[in-house]
């Protein structure tokens, strides 16, 4: 299998790291090599978060190359646009339209651009819009939007459904297992 390069971009607190863990877990269950990298420390305070996940027969670099990303998962439209140029031509961007204002916008120092989705459409990629928050709410908890996005991305990775289900199950706490299983399913079918 050719190495698949995924980027997950969002805001601290959205569950980017858990989503990365599910993707890594699925690849491990598939018997693949994995590298995953993110920067944490200051990011839980509402800053941008980006996580790199690479899966394949043998993976060296833990970072995806700029211009070499196959699948970008945007947990927030502005954060999807910020990393859109990392995606290779004919790659995929899966994103949710649910906005989270940056502190600079909340503080009145900047404006949230109103053409984010239009600008995303200018990239030569396969663009997949998933209403992650609404689907997560339907699954039982708005906070499971991250797992909805993993579900949506799962269609672009050739792993059996059982592998995905097991990866979700093993990555989330028992009491939210059902919600997350449903969130994954809704994302995969979206």
């Amino acid at each position: 299998m050719k190495t698949v390069n995924l980027l997950l971009s969002g805001v601290g607190g959205q569950g980017v790291i858990l989503a990365s863990a599910i993707l890594s877990r699925a690849a491990l269950l598939q018997g693949l090599d994995i590298k995953q990298s993110e920067v944490h420390g200051m990011s839980q305070r509402g800053g941008s978060v980006v996580s790199h996940v690479r899966v394949g027969e043998k993976v060296h670099s833990p970072l995806v190359a700029e211009g070499g990303c196959d699948i970008l998962l945007g947990f927030e439209p502005l954060e999807a646009l910020r990393f859109a140029h990392w995606v290779r031509k004919d790659g995929t961007i899966v994103y949710t339209p649910d906005r989270v204002n940056p502190s600079t916008v909340s503080a009145g120092l900047a404006e949230y651009p109103d053409d984010v989705e239009e600008r995303l459409r200018t990239y030569p990629v396969n663009l997949v819009r998933v209403e992650a928050a609404a689907l997560a709410e339907r699954a039982g908890n708005r906070r499971a939007a991250n797992v909805v996005l993993v579900g949506a991305a799962s269609r672009f990775l050739d792993f059996p459904l059982e592998v995905w289900e097991k990866a979700v199950e093993e990555s989330v706490p028992p009491k939210v297992r059902d919600v997350n299983r449903e969130a994954f399913r809704l994302g995969r079918e979206a």
Partner: protein, 587 residues
Amino acid sequence: MKEVLSGNEAIARGAWEAGVRYAAAYPGTPSTEILENIGTRYKDDIYSQWSPNEKVALETVVGASIAGVRALAAMKHVGVNVAADPLFTASYTGVRGGLVLVCADDPNLHSSQNEQDNRNYAKFAKIPLVEPSDSQEAKEFLKIAFEISEQFDTPVLFRTTTRISHSKSIVDLGDRAELPRPDHMERDVKKYTMLPAYARPKHPKIEERLQNLRAYGATSPLNRVEMGDRSVGIVASGIAYQYAKEALPNASFLKLGLTYPIPDDLVREFASKVDQLIVVEELDPFLEEQIRLLGIEVAHGKDWFPITGELTPEAVAERLTGQAFERQPAAEGLPVRPPVLCPGCSHRGVFTVLRKLKVYVSGDIGCYTLGALPPFEALHACLCMGGSITMAHGISKAMGEVTDRKDKTVAVIGDSTFFHSGVTGLMDMIWNGGHSVVMIQDNRITAMTGGQVTPGIGKTLMGADSPAIDIEKLVVTLGVKPENVRVVSAYDLKEIETVLKEELDKPEPSVVITKDPCVLQYRVKNTPMRVDPEACTACGVCLRTSCIALGMVGEGDAKHAEIDPNFCTGCTVCAQVCKFDAIRPQE
């Protein structure tokens, strides 16, 4: 058994497998999770602790080594500056039980105040340097580092970077080496007492030790030659190796794990077999300089790979392959999303008042350093751990007597940083007749690094109860007049302002303390606030508290502030700055 582990988790595992019995650290990104993991997952076999600072941590580790057990200290790159004093002389004493100092560098300053390359410490302290390039190596190399430490009677510097510490990859787990606990305390005065007469003969031994290590490097499992296409020979270590290997998988590699001292003979032999030598490394030309000193020609090194910032896979690939990556243009003009104080943060009210008072604020290392960013811009200097109090003292002495309050100085420091190295600075201020106000923002945790206990909490890393050090009593005991030690609520803006004004006008040191806990770590959530759209004039004053729960909605006359109840913790700071009484708790 295989697991996906971060570099830091793998180091913790490696310590356990190596039979380590003692570990100590002060938290610091990107090193923190090493001790967090040892202190939870391996607590049955390894005694571990957070120390008040890195110097203390390393000294306790030296003690454990003298007692005869394998011992590990962990810290971030700048932490080694704090611990440099014991490190340099521990190089002279050597060890009894193996001693490894793990330091995690932060190229690109993801969460740091500088970008120093700590590999230089190995050369400076004349100790071996080990660098892993993924999690599997982090675990295995750590075990070898302990063997080197004991075999060569030396501390070992084990250096990672953010991309090693915080990247995850697959690790094969092993068993723990059961090493017997020492049954008596050996005395060896000449080895461990660094009087001039006993230290002097050590120096030539250390030089000899380096020569022995240089020879050892030729056959060490830490170093590896991968012969491929001989037109290009790449020398690399750490994360740089991974980027280079990704770019040119078929080139020849000298992959070094022992990067100081480098194995002369191995490098010479490798260089003789390839057409040109390229050194790929992040930050300083540390390997390149060692190789050039051998008289070996380096075709490319720092002329290709920048000395500043992080290497990236695309930048390395573009240089090594000579081919540019096809890239789409980046979206321009997007609002940035910098880290901010959390909604409800106990620092928000203090910076709101400090901005209003227009005093000069000497800051320190922690979440509150974010008070320097717009819209607060109410923190004007930040140098190093503990530096707020001492810089404030220097500033106030240099300024002499000032009448205008805006020329007075307030030092702002958190609880963990105060325990780390603020206490000595306060002694200095008291002793030498200083007259600044020290604001200790005690949020009952080391917050910036993700929530580690401090000496003021009454708990240890391993979860045991312990005496909590009382900051109020401590500063009074040091000599701050009891009437100048004031405890205020972090959420009462009027009280903070009144008290700060009173204390700023005194000709002697004052300490103002807040004790409200970190909302993130202690999960504080009160009734959220709401904005009355009728009363709100959309003046925007509340937005200047820089809270992501707040935002402006609507247009024209209908424009008003709004609060997201999911984010709001009900701290009331925005309500206190509102001149129109438009912000009230939800009913």
